[in-house]
Symmetry: C2
Subunit: 260 residues, 2 copies
């Protein structure tokens, strides 16, 4: 299924030297010409942040076999996609792949995720995009299963079509590929983080706070991504960037008075 | 409609010294006990970024008449809401107000917006939340119309009910209140930013890039927020944090093969 005219942009949020992006690049090279623009430092949990008050830098790197266009960027994951589209790539890419993230982007984590925000930025620019996340936070995570899954998902997209929303959130259980039960098309689980900041004191006696918390799953129906990965399925959630709560529009129109 | 037991958290992304947050605090004080946790520096376009690799600081400030709980925070707008809930507030707030933002958060800007991401963080923690944005980017913007609108919207929420999604994106035309035609309940307009980075050279000859771009509206039906504000209506979009593209779930289930 290789097509050299198929330009594939690969990015991530863990940084250009992470194991996950190397794995994803190796998979992507089976399907087209790969270009890489990824952060020069870890950018996890940067959400859809963009850099508006600082200049951005691009540094050409030569660390991926067979990849001619590869740049480390000083900005956020979304900055990487924007700069790639505008300044780096010779043409609009056919596909954007983000990840493989070292850690889960299940449930509402999609909203905090730099990996998924980069992919969403591509989708908003009408580029089909897929974010891949492995349910293992180790920087030395074994990417073998992730590579098998990435091949499978990319082939599905190329052969059987992309979601109309142009964006998929793929979460991969951290098990051997032979232990996977299949793919489940899921909805985002209802869950949130309950903060529990660690309150500490610095060497000169001033307080500081370090983020910590518990992930609270309050979803009770099984068709969600968290349930899928917990049962050794690959979870695929089609993700939209239209955040309108359409049902609420009708409710507000009926209940509110709309004069000022 | 004042109730001292109604605890209202006010935050923003332009920073705690901005004119917009002062205006919103003055409105909020008519409805309950106001507490403020807001960034100590401008945090526009930070999206849903959270700080995970750095400590956070809180500094008590005394710059708002009649507000006992007010802190400047070193983090992002979402950090402010998280820290407020976990460490600052005496109890869970009844309402979170974010803004008044100096500038538009129309259409897909909701995704980049620190103002709206702060409000979304509250909504994700089951706190009703409203983000207010004035269609004027000046730090010295006239907030009189925004205050009239904020009063109106807060009263609607208290009297006639909140959206089930718990989050409203309110964009306010920069005109005299008397020129407003009313409120429109809208959907998010289909639009995106087309990047056009300014490429420059620093004093030692290295290239850098500065974000610039054009806002491309490709929405052709009038029931969207951009159309509303352009016609002097206050645009209210109910915003959800479930990003699942439900229609695509069915499509993918029909078109894909799901074995691995």
């Amino acid at each position: 299924m290789f097509d050299k005219n198929r330009l594939i942009l690969v990015t991530n949020d863990d940084g250009i030297t992470s194991k996950g992006i190397k794995a994803l690049i190796e998979v992507a090279q089976h399907y087209g010409t790969v270009a890489v623009v990824a952060p020069n430092s870890p950018q996890s949990a940067m959400g859809h942040a963009i850099t508006i008050s600082q200049p951005l830098r691009l540094q050409k790197v030569d660390i991926f076999d067979g990849v001619d266009i590869a740049y480390a960027c000083s900005g956020t994951p979304v900055d990487c996609v924007k700069l790639a589209i505008d300044k780096v790539l010779p043409s609009k890419p056919s596909l954007c792949l983000s990840g493989v993230n070292h850690g889960s982007n299940i449930a509402t984590n999609v909203i905090y995720s730099g990996t998924m925000s980069a992919a969403m930025e591509a989708a908003m620019s009408h580029i089909p995009a897929i974010g891949f996340s492995l349910m293992c936070y180790s920087s030395n995570a074994d990417m073998d299963t992730a590579k098998v899954v990435a091949h499978k998902i990319i082939r599905q997209v190329l052969q059987n079509g992309m979601a109309q929303c142009n964006l998929l959130n793929v979460n991969i259980p951290d098990v051997a590929a032979s232990a996977l039960k299949g793919i489940k098309i899921c909805r985002q689980a209802k869950a949130y983080w309950k903060e529990n900041y660690s309150e500490r004191t610095d060497p000169i006696g001033r307080k500081y706070y370090w983020l910590s918390g518990d992930f609270i799953n309050y979803d009770t129906v099984a068709d969600n991504d968290l349930h899928a990965v917990n049962n050794n399925y690959v979870a695929v959630v089609p993700v939209q960037h239209d955040l309108t709560a359409y049902k609420d529009m009708q409710r507000l129109n009926e209940q509110w008075t709309l004069d000022v």
